[in-house]
């Protein structure tokens, strides 16, 4: 097998069964060198099992894993050049920072002068040059994070796996660490594989994201592709926020048409995921809140909003969150619709007002139900 090693990691039909439970069902993907790749999915989707197979802690039930073109099946985890940052970091509390970072080097039999040079070098690179003699419990959460990464990076791995390492941090630090991780990845220029259930972590940091659900990849793509052109209803619903309607197609030309929702609401749509939608089929429609314009029903600029779907309702409540503020509108059918609004602080929409919701059929992503995609 002569691969030009442009891919650091390739997985082919990788599967894992625990008894009769199929945790991972034949997943295939390639990760180009030096990229930041995330696997995003709800808990229990099989992403941790997938990562443990790559690290070597679980044996696959089928398929192949290749690192730099070479299959690593049968290679024990301590012989694979894949390093892992654990969910709770698993720094060794009985050793100080220096010993933690030196641990892997010592296992490889590196000379102590070389170890000293490398440890100080990597501490320099993570911008913590003075912590070598500290004990682990003396470090802050963010510092521990960086030491855990340094401990792996000092070994020059082909691939670095990160298993939700930000999960234990508080919100502010998590936001800062997102950026930091991305910068570190650039600096080391190593392939990072990042596992998370938090979509904002995946979208902000990654070059490519795989959406995983029930042991399968639903879609692999750049964050923008996933957000704007989801291939399946699951991706549309999982990535970003959406308003969701179910309905039956009344007329269709294959790529777009008319739908009547279960609440009896007529709506125009465009087919998403590159599939054909036939007349009479049951569908799900997703519309993101930022594409829905909420306009006062008696407002002057009522007609200025552009869009072929219109719905009137009453503002139920206002969800103020600065630039990400939203209104909840109760439509005539009784269901609640979310729409983004810009709140300027004067003459804003208030609860109880009549509004009209307007959106374009191009933003109404439609998926056939039950195995349409």
């Amino acid at each position: 097998m002569k691969h030009t090693p442009t891919y650091d990691l390739e997985c082919q039909d990788l599967a894992k069964n625990f008894g009769s439970f199929r945790a991972v069902k034949g997943v295939s993907f390639d990760i180009p060198s030096g990229s930041f790749f995330s696997i995003l999915g709800p808990s229990g989707c099989g992403k941790t099992t997938l990562m443990r197979m790559i690290a070597g802690f679980e044996d696959p039930s089928g398929g192949d894993i290749r690192i730099k073109g070479k299959s690593v099946l049968g290679t024990p985890p301590n012989k694979r050049n894949v390093k892992m940052v654990f969910q709770h970091l698993a720094l060794f509390p009985m050793m100080n920072v220096y010993e933690n970072i030196a641990y892997g080097l010592r296992c490889n039999g590196v000379s102590s002068a070389e170890i000293k040079r490398k440890v100080h070098d990597v501490l320099e690179r993570i911008a913590l040059p003075d912590v070598a003699e500290r004990e682990i419990h003396q470090l802050s959460g963010g510092q521990k994070q960086r030491i855990a990464i340094a401990r792996c990076m000092v070994l020059d791995p082909d691939v670095l796996l990160l298993d939700e390492p930000l999960g234990a941090l508080d919100l502010k630090l998590r936001e800062a660490m997102k950026i930091e991780l991305k910068l570190l990845q650039h600096q080391f220029n190593t392939t990072f594989i990042y596992i998370t259930h938090d979509q904002s972590e995946a979208l902000v940091m990654s070059d490519n994201v795989a959406i995983m659900n029930q042991g399968e990849f639903e879609q692999i793509g750049t964050p923008q592709e996933l957000y704007h052109h989801p291939k399946t209803a699951f991706v549309a619903g999982f990535v970003g926020d959406s308003n969701r309607w179910s309905g039956t197609v009344t007329s269709s030309d294959g790529t777009g048409g008319q739908v009547e929702t279960d609440q009896g609401l007529p709506m125009t749509f465009s087919a998403a995921g590159g599939t054909k939608i036939n007349e009479g089929s049951k569908v799900d429609i997703f519309v993101r809140p930022e594409f829905i314009h909420a306009i006062r029903a008696n407002g002057a600029n009522k007609s200025s909003a552009d869009g072929d779907n219109r719905l009137s309702g009453v503002v139920d409540s206002l969800l103020f969150n600065g630039a990400n503020s939203r209104v909840l509108v109760r439509a005539q059918g009784g269901e609640l619709v979310e729409a983004d609004v810009t709140l300027t602080g004067n003459n804003d929409i208030k609860p109880g007002e009549d509004v009209e919701l307007v959106w374009s059929s191009r933003q109404a992503m439609c998926f056939a139900q039950n195995g349409g995609a």
Partner: protein, 286 residues
Amino acid sequence: MLAQNKTTPFLLGYRLYVVTFFIFLAAPLISAGAFAFNDSLFPALPWQGFTLDWFFGDTEPKLGMFHDRRLLQGLYYSFVIAIFVAALSVFVGTTNAFLFVRGDFPAKNFFYIMMVVPLVIPGVILGISILVLASDTANMMERRFAIELEFLRPGILLVVLGQFSFIATITSLVITARLKKFDETMEEAAYNLGASRARVLRTITLPFLRPAMIAAGIVAFLVSFENFNTTLFLVGSEAPLTITMYDRMAKVGSTPVLNAVSFFLMVGSGLLALMSVLIQRDKTAR
């Protein structure tokens, strides 16, 4: 009756009760220790003045404990026995901890209960049952094959085994509790960083267990040192200290030299116990 913010007389009475209780706890120990320094031939009031003769005196009738050959010999045997019991119990306690925390095998609960059972068997019974089995085996070997197995007769080995049979339960429980708190991803992390299994055990898991192992060893040492019931039936000619003291008490009656030994043992055990507490405390700081 147990509220913290009730009337003061109640709390005062409660405190008084607690104080009385601690006096009750301390009284026999103080009387056992204090008479070691009384310049009298009997451990009784009145107080005849301070002396260290019962430790260092080298002539009868005030032969001090450090010149009493039988007592010193007892001390030595106790020490040897306790060291072996502690080492053996910590080793088996550690393997048991791994077995019950990591192992996955049928009837695990049953075996766990089997592990705890020696703690609830009266020590006397453990002693005689081991004596019976060892003697039966030795007798049979002698009759059938004319081989005399000296080590199966009462003596140091049987004492060590007898004490070990229930002290191993104590060490197992202590070390198991510690291993349960171990985060197994730490082992995976070390493995992931390139360590071999043996290296992971040596550099990660055992250092984590070390405080519990030392504490368990100290407890085992002390329990062995003070054991009487099990030892009584298994002892041969090499009598450990508690047995020597008991003989002395039964034959000669109580003399202040026994107070001296008591004081010496109390100080020794106190120091060891303090050490084990400090080690355990270090563990919680982590």
